[in-house]
Symmetry: D2
């Protein structure tokens, strides 16, 4: 798939003719649709769609396209986004002391899997700098205490703005972001090391071990003010047995964390995820 | 989802404007699209789509709809089908001596999961009549030998025509259907008790046991003249260990056979499966 | 495996020489061990073991065996059970209005998968009698209200005693058993239609749909007084998507309920499950 | 589990009293068994066992232990191995141009998951040196052509001897090892990028894409002279759909390759794998 594409994501009240109007819009501008997927949640009365078409217009053409699309999509009364596959999103990876999710994302980035640029890595500790510095990526440390958190978040928001970051990935970042932060920068994906909503909160593997479950999991989700309660994008699971200690669960779970987080990030960066009613629609 | 729907499945050479023309067609006839999914296989240059919209027209309206749709879809130069969700398909379940897939389908039918009418059950043995007769379903026995096979297949085709059967399900029917039969009646789904293409042919669980695999599977596929080589609709797998004998593999595999076959049948009966290039596209 | 076997399950404080003493005991009585599996939970300081050996002694020989074994095992200060593979356990299946788990167990029983005798089927409704009566199995109805529950449970316990039932299987029995009942008859396995501990309690599929999870599950567990909090024996999961309504989750979940319950029951009937600290050890 | 352990792996003709003799042997030497697992393949008439007990004897004590064990185990007429958990195995990772399995193993090594020392990394190309050198690990390049292969294998064997390597891991090493090499150094684990025995040989993902399978997999196996036909240790699978191109299969498959290879290596390094009859017994 060599040609760049335009991607429209739209969520709006269900109504007759949406697909026709949008696909006709694309057709009349000479676009060839390569993938389109629409779903109506009849219970919620909501239309949710994604259209991707080949588009090699220049910057001016894209400004125009966005204006013309607004004329069609705005009256539908919902939320829509237009993306272009050749505009590479910029991400910031946030970590604390555990390296597995960070290393996994760094490796996928080098392998060309993510389709994003890593603007910077952020941590509340200096520990993982040694994995980041050799790659020539900026590594920023913001130590956080209860007293300094509000101030540090302002600094972090400043960094995200300066670096034009599109998505923050919490790759085992063990701090809770405030509501103020999330209102200022809402595009944040977290990996929680349990099969949510089971074992939200602290020490999920130890909770799972104590409960004696036979399967454990990991959940990648958008971050909201409610801890571990945001819209789930992707989950994965692995079997465990009575022979597994809590430490074995941690080890096995790390693999699921890496997979679930990487898939969720890739889906979002490919503009395949919409949220509504604290859920996600994943077009895949 | 109380209103009946019309469902269009289409496979044709990829070309600009297909989605626009089809969705506009639906819109101009007052249809409300509840689900639509399109995919272009860029390598094969093929467009594959499914559109489902609410439609409560009467018989005459549907004849007209089909004619009008032909005027739009025929020029696209491919294959298309129009179905209506309130037209209940008629299926024939074929079995031999093993009952698990038959019983599973009978149970799902009673539970309203299949969305089909069971026209009859066919077997080359009388053994499973006892499961079918109490439900008031016709049970037809066609003993098959090398000498009688061609003649019996003619009888079977006659039965399928008389009973207006839309789909034959080989639920562990241990006979190979001839090319003549399949040309006369091509809509046949089979369940093969291995993770195809591994272990095609006879005794797949014993082959798997001898090979020492750690995962076994089952594959539901459309039947073609090449044994176990038709387009795969659905597969499922389960872990096994060195403690499992070949008989344990048979037992564990049966559960996967039941699940994979039931899912494949349901997907097909919901008009969610298209085939091209010996593969399936499954819109789910 | 044609010869009958004796099976010892033991849970006791960890101590030196347990395996040696037990396997020497078996050897000195001429037994050939066909399977043995031991595990020490070092954190809990607990030894958990299962030994299975060929044994074709007669009734008198088995009484003697049990006495001699007591002399070896009792001093270990834990809990032990001795079973014989040719003593077929008797089970009672309890159901309410949903038939899928009942039908699945009835089918597996007919297919020889369970290795148990069905003593009777119990329900608080008459609805499912039609599936049970044709098989010649007793079907007992005990309507339960808040007022009659205690009295009905006494009747039920009487039935279990008269029928010499070893295991009660709650196959979607939608009533909570009292602590009194469970103290009198503790061997009860339940299937809960969620991936416990997520979505304990009522309407788990609707809870799961509202939460927007990407994977749902089912959990088979021993019943304790705490609702849905007993030791988990087996769990299974299946992926779901935004296209799945709560009703689709119910349908997909039923398959997992059937599998998880059947596996748990079979493991227990094969004397492969030990419980300690509200967890299970599953020797498989 | 802080104390070191001794681990006995044994495969021999099935016979009465094996467990008793072995566990009594351990007990009489004061060993506390922490894990033991035995299985009789009744069809093959083979006993397969693993016993692990706490052992903190010194070097001289271990020489003695091995001699005394020989007196018990040799007469059983099979194959046995004695390992000690505090003897860290030395591994050599062999790679070609693809880095994902190499990087994964390097990461797990740093995270302490493997329980092995990396003696060196070997490749037929210089490409991946940049990932290895910064860690201070030796990286040896042996370019291989049809003409030089035999000579290079002698060099490689010399390196393995000098470096006292216990296990060679083919982490996407795209060369076939000769029978001569394998007779001289048989402990080699390979990762094949398909669900064996399906799609053995070249380009398995492209084969899988052409066949239209709905699930793909990866298989970690011991290497034998027959290409991709050695005993399978571990397999893993992932679902794919019609939307996945062959390149998507490659990407999704890489994750399964990493997981299956890492698990197989860890199981083997923990002395949990026995082979017989071209199969593995995995004690886990």
């Amino acid at each position: 798939m060599s040609k760049p594409t335009a991607i429209l994501l739209i969520s709006c009240p269900d109504q007759r003719g949406i697909v026709a109007r949008l696909s006709t819009f694309v057709f009349e501008r000479g676009g060839n649709i390569v993938d389109s997927d629409h779903h109506s949640d009849l219970q919620a009365g909501r239309f949710l769609g994604r259209i991707e078409w080949e588009d090699d217009s220049d910057a001016a053409g894209r400004v125009l396209l966005r204006q013309e699309l607004a004329a069609v999509a705005d009256p539908m009364g919902g939320h829509w986004e237009l993306h272009f596959s050749d505009v590479v999103p910029r991400i910031a990876i946030w970590c604390s002391r555990q390296e597995h999710c960070l290393l996994d994302l760094l490796w996928r980035h080098q392998a060309g899997e993510l389709g994003a640029e890593i603007a910077c890595v952020v941590s509340n500790h200096d520990l993982l700098r040694r994995h980041v510095a050799p790659l020539g990526l900026p590594f920023h440390v913001f130590p956080v205490t209860a007293a300094t958190k509000a101030e540090q978040e302002q600094q972090q928001l400043g960094l995200l703005r300066r670096e034009r970051v599109d998505l923050v990935i919490l790759a085992k970042y063990m701090q809770v972001l405030s509501g103020d932060f999330l209102r200022a920068f809402p595009d944040v994906i977290n990996i929680h090391h349990s099969f949510l909503p089971a074992f939200a909160g602290a020490q999920p593997y130890h909770q799972a071990h104590a409960r004696g479950v036979k399967i454990i999991g990991a959940s990648a989700h958008f971050v909201t003010e409610d801890l571990d309660a945001g819209p789930i994008i992707e989950q994965d699971v692995v079997r465990v047995s009575h022979r597994d200690t809590a430490e074995d669960l941690v080890r096995k779970g790390k693999d699921m964390e890496r997979l679930a987080l990487a898939r969720a990030v890739r889906l979002h960066l490919n503009h395949r995820v919409l949220t509504y009613a604290n859920k996600t629609v994943v077009f895949e």
